[in-house]
Point group: C2
Chain length 209, copies 2
């Protein structure tokens, strides 16, 4: 018994792209989708898709592929995207505003329930339908809303401060868009979304080509 396969991070990272393709197929009225088809769409090999999908527990049918409806449900359930979770967004700059306006988060089970900024000019205004609150009240608001997830889009210089406040407010997961890797207690999960690492890879691939 393998009992909570700790991570398989690369497989988990690929699941959202599978989900996107499978939802598109469903919209076209299909009932089954093969691992081969998914692999082709993403330039992967089909055995990798089959292995990845096996972690959701769904079984495919020989010759037909995977049943779309249950497969979507299983991936969503596996990722916890089958019910909406409220989150706080901290730092309503360019990127923070863009994320506030992103319409696709509900497909990922994410609802931005509160947004905070320290700039008096922004506090009280509404951005993409969400009222910006004073960052000084963040601790109490996050507790009141019972929020467990925070999206961190402050300037990098403020990242550690903001993370400290989030932790003391009871946040359990931080989706971090700053360049700083904040220090947090072990019980808090930080997912660093470092855009420059992807750009570095693009640059090297272009040079090596």
């Amino acid at each position: 018994m393998d009992n909570l396969k700790i991570s398989a991070a690369p497989s988990i990272r690929r699941l959202p792209s599978y989900l996107y393709i499978i939802r598109n197929m469903q919209r076209e009225g299909e009932e089954y989708i093969s691992g081969t088809a998914i692999a082709q769409e993403l330039n992967l090999v089909s055995v990798q898709v089959r292995k990845d999908l096996s972690i959701t527990g769904i079984k495919g049918h020989p010759k037909k592929g995977y049943p779309i409806e249950p497969l979507i449900g299983a991936i969503e359930h596996f990722l916890g995207w089958d019910s909406l979770q409220d989150a706080a967004l901290v730092g309503v700059g360019n990127l923070g505003s863009a994320l506030l306006g992103y319409q696709g988060f509900q497909l990922h089970g994410l609802n931005i329930a509160a947004a905070f900024d320290a700039n008096p000019k922004k506090i009280g205004t509404t951005v993409h339908g969400i009222k910006i609150m004073n960052a000084k009240t963040m601790d109490i608001q996050i507790r009141n809303f019972g929020l467990k997830i925070a999206i961190l889009t402050v300037p990098s210089t403020e990242a550690q401060n903001a993370a400290d406040t989030l932790v003391s407010a009871g946040i359990e997961g931080i989706w971090n868009f700053t360049s700083v890797k904040p220090k947090v207690p072990d019980r808090v999960v930080v997912q660093n979304e470092d855009l420059s690492s992807g750009f570095a890879l693009l640059c090297i691939k272009m040079r090596n080509r």
Copy 2:
């Protein structure tokens, strides 16, 4: 002779975070930084930092660490970030606008020289100091500017169309922020920046904790 070590993608992805820390140390007036210090800042082990830095060709000094000035130069040079490269941005929505306004790209050798959108209401306006041009003229403009890199921030439904135009305009690298993995000829490099994959990992890590 190992002659163009093809990728070592994880190492390359970590270099920008090293660079960020090393620049901060330089700003504080330090002349040397140890692999141990970098590792501590990023929750890595120091042997990994030393191995990663070795691909830049810089040698450290026992007891002192790595000389900051040459190290910064070597990382920047390795990534091609030591001279500014012009890029096109396609799709001036929420995320596209945010990237247009991001002040940090010049630290990554990136200059957004042209931005395109198909919406008549946006064409001709200026966003963060950059004039938005008609997407229909993209092909000719990209050729005129001689652009080789494109940032793709159109709606996912438009991604393949836009990618096709970019390829025919001579673009060699696409930094792709859409959910679609566009099909391009082998000579063109695509770097997919899929935010939902990071969020999926955050969700699983929170549940497994």
